[in-house]
Symmetry: C2
Subunit: 198 residues, 2 copies
């Protein structure tokens, strides 16, 4: 087994953390001129790399903004799996989503900037939606592992995501960022009120 050694004195072949530099470059350019008005060549150039290298790190131009989503997904799923068995499915999902909300809030300004970028581009919205759909699928799986049967599991997951979406949307529209987990709880209550058969 070998140990990674970082050499601080001798010149390396390349500057380190090219992926991180690409991410930074992309986000700042998207912020400056908008997503559609920046080319991958420009991103690569600002990062001191080539276009080809960009595509080695990110599947496509949009993916830069969604690379971090996996961690959030894992957080949510682990929270759902770890929730007490006594908790009904919707509430288990709520636990996961609130944890995600809290995590998002801790990241400062970036999530809201990012959300505004997405709102400004149909292409990015499409990507966001399919990521959320994937999350819903993972959520449904987690519910099935809790013993929830399948029509109910998918439905609960999908509806949970809908609640989450609306809460995040409202959170983004606020002038001053409010309490996201609280917004999620509120939305879920609203949902209950709305579906409660008359």
């Amino acid at each position: 087994m070998s140990v990674a050694v970082i050499n601080y004195d001798q010149p390396m072949r390349w500057e380190p953390d090219s992926r991180g530099r690409l991410e930074q470059a992309a986000i700042s350019l998207y912020g400056e001129r908008g997503f559609e008005n920046t080319t991958v060549a420009e991103i690569a150039s600002r990062a001191g790399l080539t276009e080809r290298t960009f595509f080695r790190h990110f599947a496509d131009k949009r993916e830069v903004l969604f690379a971090g989503g996996l961690l959030l997904q894992e957080l949510i799923v682990s929270e759902v799996s770890g929730a007490p068995d006594s908790l009904p499915p919707v509430d288990a999902v709520a636990v996961g989503l609130e944890a995600a909300g809290a995590a998002i809030q801790e990241r400062g300004d970036y999530p809201r900037q990012r959300q505004r970028m997405i709102a400004a581009s149909a292409e990015l919205q499409e990507r966001e939606l399919i990521k959320l759909a994937a999350l819903a699928a993972r959520l449904a799986e987690a519910l099935r592992e809790r013993g929830v049967d399948d029509p109910a599991a998918s439905l609960t997951a999908e509806v949970g995501i809908a609640v989450f979406r609306i809460a995040v949307e409202r959170w983004n529209e606020e002038d001053e960022p409010g309490d996201l987990p609280q917004l999620i709880r509120d939305s879920l209550d609203q949902l209950r009120a709305v579906t409660a058969g008359r």
Copy 2:
């Protein structure tokens, strides 16, 4: 006011219904080789037209499969708007979605083929999702016009779409196509059971 006259004898400059021919060509090619493996040039060629003309009729390669969606959207919205005022929001939405389900069912095999194509391509799924999101937005608007306040309106619309998605998905997975409106009703009942906070 002028009357459209169709000349059956004299040669026209172009074969009629180029848009329809493009649509047919695209759908059959997508079915034969899959969406990703067919180029717009091939579609245009099969339709006896040029690539440029394809893009005059359809905003992009995917849009061919979603062109008809507008009518369905209008159907749903008009059903919701026309539902008795006494009906609670969720049920008004249900009326619209069931009508859509019935309309889809009447179209024979095509909707299920189309759905299978979409399921086979991430790109198409993205488009599908954003179309459904647009539908949810229109639905929410229709609810607001019924006097439903906004957090509830968006939530109801979004959740209605989630129910619809799941029902259609299950319908597509069946060997023999079952009763879609019924599936929608069932899914909604499931939802009620699931959200009924104990």
